[in-house]
């Protein structure tokens, strides 16, 4: 006789990054337990929402049959001393298999005589074995973060357990909880699950989609519908989409308008506010950012208009705040921002941001003399303003806007050409000779300051994002409209640190260049050949 099996942990809201792998991890732990105990099953599934992780196994035998295993031990010669007393080898073998001396048989195998024991595993009910091993199964799941409560440890507190085998509710306990015959909604209402195989359907009836992929499909198809209705385009930001999938149980998409007056603020600031603060998706029309946002609510609400109005109030309040920061920043003189760079600490050999900019300026002056003497002033201007917006309030609030904020502030002050070059040097979206040269010099100085302090990225750790910076250097060298000699840059920029630092940076960049070529689909032999230079 076989039955289906379901195990659910109801957890206080799991962070999306944990939940993403939690269902799979729980399933893997169960599969390992089944394999170790030779428990068969026909198929398996795992489920996860912010508040539950669960596994389902089809057709598990109710009784794990008796099993006799014959195990060969040491040879008879090595197993017994003179007088028939057991040797250490035999005693060790018996201990390992929890067997007794009286269980030993001697048999001949291909002309040699060996000792054997028969290990008998009695037939056991599945639920007995499961109860015995459950603490171990749960202990074997490793998460990137956890917390403590009531003497327990898990990523977030577990508040309910549901364990069904066929139609029977198993009386297992873990996390100090006794199992229930129900699971819970987000607000604590009970949902009766009649049997293991009806789990997903019962949850769906209660407006809970336990399979993340299905939640994602639903969001994307509702995006399509809303786009057609309003003739707009919703940005499918992958990070936000994933965050939304893993922070909802029953996602529903709605479009809501905001006051058009906010479109006066640079669109990048509004987009950052929508995505990072409000977890809403930006919406575009043929003119650019549209006065709408897409919100994904969690649940099915009759009073949805009231909820959307509340969302709109939050979005507009956030925009007001961004407007405040932006107003403060654009009303300041550029010289004030440049002066404030003194207050910003820089890691490593530079005392502060102003100090670093001075060094970037010196290097740019030197290198522009070699490559573009006619454009020296243009390059020096880019170097001067490449980091000034880090001292602004808007970049303090939204670090991702570094380069973009500087672009708009420079434009406000009438420096249109410098604005374009600075944006190109930081964001790499419009590369000229000037932006490439200043961008490379700036990034090499950043890497220099870290390497000089013996901070280097490893395969798994790169807290300061040095790999990304290095990849941008490679990108700029390749995409610069003129040919720069890497060695000339290195010799100039690293003249104030030891040769070992220069050599390490050289090797680091070479390695990243190799990875870049491989990503571009360049055949391995050519990559090897190029990277030998």
């Amino acid at each position: 006789m076989k039955s289906n099996f379901l195990f659910e942990l109801w957890v206080e809201d799991l962070p999306p990054t944990i939940q993403k792998f939690a269902g799979e991890k729980l399933k893997t732990a169960f599969v390992k337990f089944f394999e170790n105990n030779e428990i068969t099953y026909a198929s398996s599934e795992h489920f996860s929402t912010p508040r539950r992780i669960a596994v389902f196994f089809k057709d598990i035998p109710r009784v794990i049959p008796k099993k006799v295993t014959k195990i060969r031990g040491p040879s008879e010669k090595n197993a017994f001393k003179e007088g028939g007393l057991p040797t250490q080898a035999l005693l060790g073998f018996l201990k390992k298999h929890n067997a007794d001396l009286k269980d030993v048989r001697v048999e001949e195998v291909k002309g040699n005589r060996y000792v054997f024991v028969e290990i008998v595993k009695k037939a056991k009910k599945f639920e007995e074995v499961f109860k015995q091993y459950l603490p171990q199964i749960l202990k074997n799941i490793k998460f990137n973060e956890s917390m403590r409560w009531d003497g327990n440890c898990f990523p977030r507190p577990v508040r309910n357990i549901l364990c069904i085998f066929g139609k029977k509710f198993l009386k297992v306990s873990c996390f100090g909880l006794q199992p229930k015959k129900t699971t819970l909604t987000s607000t604590g209402d009970k949902i009766k699950i009649e049997n293991a195989s009806g789990y997903e359907k019962t949850l769906l009836r209660n407006k809970i989609i336990p399979v993340p992929e299905k939640r994602k499909e639903r969001i994307l198809s509702e995006f399509d519908i809303e786009e057609k209705k309003k003739k707009v385009k919703i940005e499918r930001d992958n990070f936000l989409l994933e965050y939304t999938v893993y922070s909802t149980e029953y996602p529903q998409v709605f479009l809501k308008e905001f006051d058009e007056k906010f479109l006066e603020i640079p669109s990048e600031i509004l987009v950052e506010t929508l995505k990072n603060h409000q977890k809403c998706f930006p919406v575009y029309n043929r003119n650019g950012l549209a006065p709408f946002f897409a919100v994904v609510v969690d649940g099915d609400f009759k009073n949805i208009n009231e909820i959307l109005e509340n969302y709109k109030n939050c979005v507009e309040a956030r925009f007001e705040d961004a407007k405040f920061f932006w107003g403060e920043d654009v009303s300041k003189l550029l010289e004030e921002h440049l002066k404030n760079m003194e207050k910003i600490f820089c890691f490593g050999i530079f005392k502060n941001l102003k100090n670093k900019t001075e060094r970037v300026l010196e290097d740019c002056r030197f290198l522009s003399q070699i490559y573009m003497p006619m454009r020296k002033q243009q390059i020096m201007d880019v170097a001067k303003y490449i980091d000034f917006d880090i001292a602004t309030k808007i970049v303090y609030e939204f670090p991702n806007l570094h380069g973009i904020a500087g672009f708009y502030i420079l434009k406000k002050h009438g420096f249109n050409k410098i604005a374009d070059d600075v944006r190109g040097a930081v964001c790499l979206d419009r590369i000229t000779e000037a932006s490439a040269l200043a961008g490379i010099v700036h990034r090499l100085n950043t890497i220099k300051s870290f390497f000089n302090e013996k901070i280097r990225p490893t395969t798994s750790k790169d807290p300061y994002g040095l790999k990304k910076i290095c990849d941008e250097i490679v990108f700029l060298f390749i995409n610069a409209p003129i040919y720069f000699e890497f060695e000339k840059f290195l010799n100039r920029i690293f003249d104030d640190v030891g040769e070992d630092v220069k050599k390490d940076v050289y090797l680091f960049i070479k390695e990243r260049f190799k990875i870049f070529l491989e990503k571009e689909g360049i055949p391995c032999d050519i990559v090897e050949m190029v990277s030998k230079f």
């Binding site: 809201d13 917390m147 909820i307 969302y311 309040a317």
Partner: protein, 283 residues
């Protein structure tokens, strides 16, 4: 529902659920966590339930009363339940119902937001609770304080009262929120917001703030050596406030800021050690 009704209803709810109704602590602070009723009660194993209203000053958030949303001083309603009960989450949702938020009619989301206070050497796992996109509460299970792992895990609930009042009264501007039937929030607090924004952003003598920081540091050290941890803790709160004022003026470079945090962290660890070892009441 007026702001004062929200305070009354939350107070009643939590008193009915076993909380002592505490008082705001009369020293400037950036968050309700700094109140003695929270921080200094975390270390022993004795059960503790308290609720209180705490005005919290964050000079950096001042907007001259021009912003509909941000304030230099906002009012928190703080609850500590130690140890955290098994139904903490649902108890919290019930408290929302008590102030008129029907959790089944709103998009209530618990978004990961782990809390950390470097100056108190404390951290916890938790969430910001959002109601239709509006952050209304910080919900945290403390894990460590004063640099020590806690033996009893408490839950801390910090309600943002102005935001809740805006939400319940459908007001887009905090200054339009009714404090009572007769007064708006703006009538009670607008001048204070404007004047203190001017003070913190323009007039405060930052050099003097550095001096005051060091003055209270020395005072705290003396009091610790005199085994007087409670007044020493007051000194730490003063230091934390001057630190916030200097920070609002952009008075720190990163290195100095870090060293100031470290100074406060060390003091908080020394003060906590009295409470961890149960010697806080020796004198």
């Amino acid at each position: 529902m007026t702001l004062q009704e929200i305070i009354l209803k939350l107070s009643s709810f939590w008193v009915e659920n076993g909380c002592l109704l505490g008082l705001a602590y009369d020293v400037e602070k950036g968050a309700g966590t700094f109140n003695q009723f929270t921080f200094l009660k975390l270390f022993d194993d004795k059960p503790w339930r308290v609720a209180y209203v705490e005005p919290s000053r964050r000079p950096q958030d001042g907007r001259y009363a021009d912003n509909p949303f941000r304030l230099y001083k906002h009012i928190q309603f703080q609850v500590i339940l130690k140890p955290a009960p098994k139904d903490s989450r649902f108890l919290y949702l019930k408290s929302l119902k008590a102030i008129g938020i029907d959790v089944k009619k709103h998009d209530i989301r618990f978004l990961e937001d782990n809390w950390e206070s470097p100056s108190l050497g404390a951290w916890g796992r938790g969430w910001e609770v959002r109601c239709d996109g509006l952050e209304i509460t910080q919900f945290t299970y403390f894990q460590s304080a004063g640099g020590k792992e806690l033996s009893q895990i408490p839950v801390e609930l910090t309600y943002g009262l102005e935001r809740i009042a805006m939400f319940l009264n459908k007001k887009k501007n905090v200054f339009d929120v009714p404090w009572s039937e007769d007064f708006t929030y703006g009538e009670i607090r607008k001048a204070e917001e404007r004047q203190f924004s001017i003070y913190y952003f323009e007039k405060a003598d930052v050099e003097k703030m550095f001096d005051l920081f060091y003055f209270w540091k020395k005072e705290a050290e003396n009091l610790i050596s005199e085994k007087l941890p409670l007044p020493a803790y007051d000194c730490l709160l003063k230091m934390s406030h001057y630190f916030n004022v200097i920070d609002a003026r952009g008075g720190f470079d990163h290195a100095t800021r870090t060293s100031f945090v470290r100074i406060m962290q060390e003091l908080s660890s020394k003060i906590s050690s009295f409470f961890i070892s149960g010697l806080e009441n020796d004198k």
